[in-house]
């Protein structure tokens, strides 16, 4: 069992960020700042940052409002979609509440149709995401959608997004991405200097810190403190712990249970390929190109299972397996998520060619299946 031992104090500020962020956001609103809520990694948040708007992830990673959502949505739907809608319908998420505009995207069918209903409650703008990355027509559509979002933002908030400001926003975000990548790359070291749960809490929590300069500073401090303590001989993770990479649907909030179970079984999560991890921070946006071209290429190439084909996920996962010397890969698929569930086979076959053990597990936002996850995950770790 990996003990979740204390990290430097500064870490607390991340594990608690989502809650603390409520107050910070309230203050921002009172200062007259506009807020844009998003659900997905494909949304080019630089467009908001460029004009001082505050983007926030409406991650909805709790089962609190699923009951509310099921009054309208079908039961056998991905819990992420139900929770996202439920938080708006029940008016329970302060971030949703504070969002002046919600930007959705046609990633999967469930979300696409949910946004229609969400549009009755909030001001929703939906981006039409193509599901292919190499046809010129797909790129053209995405470029048009980015421009359409720009116009919508300018109109809604009465601002002008200049190329100069956009460049600036890209640089800022790149810096943040690079730092978050540095955070997870700490676990390239063996034994890992922090548990996967702690890593997740930093990566997940960072999105709820809205002051760029302060966030950058805190991240730098966190990295240097962890490194320093590690060099001073503080090795909280046993060297024998098997090194696991987690892939699949977005993870965080209630689905932290997935990581908890892995680490309670004695292994350590060294990297997340998911949206909360490498999928979001691995690459940089080209700072030398025209900002719209740069945004278009960067975002369209995210390796999510909604893309067909989806070679970029395999490329990233393979690279992470080498870089982190993974002993095994575990995939978390949310119930009723067809794209990830189907792609699971491809992932398994891909990892077979590299002789890396793989298992995919389905879960939802309840805690009822913890024991079932535990038996499977422990057995997986025992077989490594």
């Amino acid at each position: 069992m990996i003990e979740q031992r204390e990290l430097p104090e500064i870490f607390e500020s991340f594990s608690d960020a989502r809650k603390q962020g409520f107050m910070a956001m309230k203050n921002l609103k009172e200062q007259g700042k506009g807020v844009v809520g998003t659900f997905c990694t494909y949304v080019p948040v630089e467009l908001f940052l460029a004009v001082g708007l505050v983007p926030v992830g409406l991650c909805s990673t709790s089962d609190e409002t699923i009951g509310e959502a099921e009054k309208v949505l079908p039961r056998n739907l991905c819990p992420l979609i139900k929770a996202s809608y439920g938080f708006a319908a029940a008016d329970k998420c302060p971030y949703m509440y504070f969002s002046d505009l919600v930007v959705g995207e046609t990633t999967c069918d469930g979300k696409t149709k949910m946004y229609e209903l969400l549009g009755k409650i909030k001001d929703v703008h939906v981006m039409d995401l193509p599901h292919n990355q190499d046809r010129p027509a797909s790129r053209a559509i995405w470029m048009e959608e980015i421009k359409r979002l720009k116009n919508r933002v300018e109109e809604k908030f009465g601002v002008t997004i200049t190329v100069e400001k956009l460049h600036q926003a890209i640089r800022e975000r790149n810096r943040e991405r690079a730092l978050l990548k540095k955070v997870y790359e700490l676990s390239v070291m063996s034994p890992a200097p922090l548990s996967g749960l702690q890593q997740l809490q930093i990566l997940f929590g960072a999105q709820f810190k809205f002051d760029h300069e302060k966030k950058v500073q805190e991240l730098e401090e966190t990295i240097s403190r962890i490194t320093e303590e590690y060099q001073n001989g503080r090795h909280p993770i046993p060297a024998a712990a098997k090194r696991i990479i987690v892939t699949g649907c977005p993870i965080g909030g209630v689905t932290e249970k997935f990581t908890r179970v892995i680490e309670e079984s004695g292994a350590v999560v060294v990297a997340y390929e998911n949206c909360t991890g490498a999928k979001q921070f691995d690459r940089q946006i080209d700072e030398s190109a025209d900002p719209y071209d740069a945004l278009c290429d960067y975002y369209l190439n995210i390796g999510c299972s909604v893309m067909s084909p989806n070679p970029n996920r395999l490329e990233l996962l393979g690279r992470l397996c080498d870089q982190f010397k993974a002993d095994g890969v575990l995939e978390m698929v949310l119930q009723s998520c067809h794209t990830y569930a189907i792609e699971s086979y491809t992932i398994g076959e891909f990892l077979k060619t590299r002789s890396i053990p793989f298992m995919s597990l389905e879960t939802d936002y309840s805690s009822g299946d913890t024991e079932q996850l535990k038996t499977r995950i422990s057995a997986f770790i025992e077989m490594l």
């Binding site: 024991e371 057995a379 025992e382 077989m383």
Partner: protein
């Protein structure tokens, strides 16, 4: 394990039965079996007390209090964490794989039908290669079979006689709860209990074949768990899976034996 222990205890705390073995270098020295009842901890403790008593009897020379008191205890099964006295806990998946290898060296596939789940495990040299498990619904579990037998006032020993029937019927329900009402309907239509029990065994085999499709079945295939003794179930499985499911003597203790092996031998 330090390799010095003379005896190792493996204990498999299942949902219906708690099984334990006392293992030493030469083989299994004692078995113990207790119904789980509602108190898992207690039945585990009873099995443990039995085996300790056996150890003291069998090896009077070495069986000083120290040895008996310090035997490593490896727990497995769904109640493994509830067994208070244990050196280590392992999942039933690893345990069944290892135990089956001990009982039949060279085994490649283990089908374990437990009280509340069933699994198909691909094994090589006693190690798990991959596995599939159903624990989300009762159909395909020992509990389902037990429920049907209870309805007919038959016990497990009678099952093979019931399963000898030539004519069996197909159950349509894939869920144990619906299957029960379907069975009542079939009885009302005048079907015999032999035909119906046969149908239950068949539907269970179909459930298991859908699990095994993802693991791949490589012979030799054995059946472990509470129904390991039943030739009727094995026959139904062999028919549906189109591969001979072999009899594994002491297969009901495979989990406990595997746990003990993982602990020391």
């Amino acid at each position: 394990m330090d390799g010095e222990a003379e005896y190792v205890i493996g204990i498999d705390c299942g949902s219906t039965l708690c099984k334990g073995v006392l293992l030493n270098r030469h083989g299994v020295a004692a078995f113990s079996l207790q119904p789980t009842g509602w108190n898992l901890q207690e039945s585990a403790a009873r099995v443990l007390a039995n085996l300790r008593g056996n150890a003291a009897d069998i090896a009077p020379n070495t069986a000083d209090n120290d040895m008996v008191g310090n035997m490593p205890i490896i727990a497995t099964g769904y109640g493994r964490d509830m067994a208070t006295e244990k050196t280590k806990a392992v999942t039933e998946i690893s345990a069944h794989a290892r135990g089956a290898e001990y009982l039949m060296p060279g085994v490649r596939t283990v089908i374990d039908i437990g009280g509340q789940d069933c699994k198909v495990i691909a094994v090589e040299n006693g190690r798990v290669l991959s596995f599939q498990m159903n624990d989300k619904c009762a159909a395909g579990t020992g509990r389902f079979v037990q429920m049907v037998l209870e309805r007919f006032n038959a016990d497990i020993n009678l099952m093979d006689t019931l399963l000898a029937a030539e004519k069996i019927i197909q159950l349509n329900s894939t869920c144990a709860v619906f299957a029960e009402s379907e069975i009542i309907g079939l009885l009302a239509k005048g079907y015999s209990r032999e035909e119906i029990v046969g149908g239950v065994a068949l539907s269970m085999a179909v459930k298991i074949s859908s699990l095994s499709a993802r693991v791949g079945l490589r012979p030799p295939v054995v059946l472990t768990g509470g129904l390991a003794e039943s030739s009727g179930i094995r026959k139904a499985l062999s028919q549906v899976l189109k591969v001979e499911v072999q009899f594994l003597p002491q297969g009901i203790y495979a989990g406990a034996i595997g746990a003990a092996c993982i602990g020391g031998f």
